[in-house]
């Protein structure tokens, strides 16, 4: 059979178009999207401590870069509700404080792990942007709101257990509003703790 260049050309064009179509189709579909809750929903299993930390670290750095580029106007803020202000949350708070977050509010239960008290003292001493408040009773729902845009929600758990959690990047405003309102309501029942009081806080022996 003779070589027909028109046929070859058509075949090549068709193949190129097919490849473009396949690539567009693959990258367009976002398996983490839900129109009711947010643009990127990621599930973290209880064993994925490192993944959870990296996700939040990356988010903080991303927000800082947006702030530097002028895409975010106003202060970067972080709101946190935890059962105990433990090691994992302290790392996130420190990272945020080091990355231009000027308003960090932590609401915690009345008890911490004994070995964390010194860390909390140091943290409150070093970072003036951090406000630490405690509730009379351990809160059941734990979450973080990153600059009124992104959420990190934990599955309810006991103080000595860790369970799965969910990260929601670019959460829907309605969802953010629900958590923001809950945070503000909790704030009414919480009282601020100074670094010296933090040293005298009730604690769990690990």
């Amino acid at each position: 059979m003779q070589f027909d260049y028109t046929l070859i050309l058509i075949l090549l064009s068709l193949s190129t178009l097919t490849v473009i179509f396949i690539i567009k189709l693959i990258y367009k579909h976002n398996p983490h999207y839900d129109d009711q809750y947010g643009k990127e929903i990621v599930l973290f299993h209880s064993t994925e401590r490192y993944k959870k930390r990296v996700w939040r670290f990356n988010l903080i750095e991303k927000l800082k870069n947006q702030k530097i580029k002028g895409k975010i106007i106003g202060e970067l803020e972080l709101k946190v509700i935890v059962g105990e202000f433990s090691e994992g949350t302290q790392e996130i708070v420190k990272h945020a404080a080091n990355h231009k977050f000027n308003s960090i509010t932590i609401i915690s239960g009345p008890k911490v792990f004994c070995e964390d008290r010194m860390e909390i003292y140091t943290l409150l001493d070093k970072y003036k942007s951090v406000e630490y408040l405690i509730l009379p009773k351990r809160p059941l729902k734990h979450f973080m709101i990153f600059n009124k845009t992104h959420l990190f929600i934990e599955k309810p758990h006991r103080h000595n257990h860790s369970r799965g959690s969910v990260g929601v990047m670019k959460a829907q405003p309605k969802l953010i509003e629900i958590y923001d309102q809950a945070f503000n309501k909790m704030l009414k029942y919480a009282h601020p703790l100074t670094k010296d009081e933090a040293m005298k806080q009730e604690c769990y022996i690990n």
């Binding site: 983490h32 599930l43 799965g164 629900i178």
Partner: protein, 130 residues
Amino acid sequence: MDITALIPEFLVLSLAGSSLSIAAYSSFKDRSDDQKLLLIIATLFSFAFLVIFILSATTLNNLTFNQFILTLLFYALIFMAILSIIGFIIQRLRIDQKYKDDELESAIDIIESSMDGLNSSITLFETKEK
């Protein structure tokens, strides 16, 4: 140009492409979309292999009966193997998709259960204060 001269190269190229794509797929851990693309590339290579494989079969001639039977057997086996690889890839794509859908569903469950109890956990403080 004699096409039979090109057949071995084409066979090796398509098979190597398919294996490389699958190897690259296995090395990816997080970027799910990239994984999916690699699986699709592997399928394209596998289909290319099948096309050239069938083409090579059409160029066979002057075979004795025994040679013919053995060649036929060989072709059938290779054909089945490549089809199985394509089947595996498609199955993998489906499982990956299902896994991601399940993860999203579990994540939404966590969000919903967290939202459900939000107000009642605040009411707990209200009643305590009263």
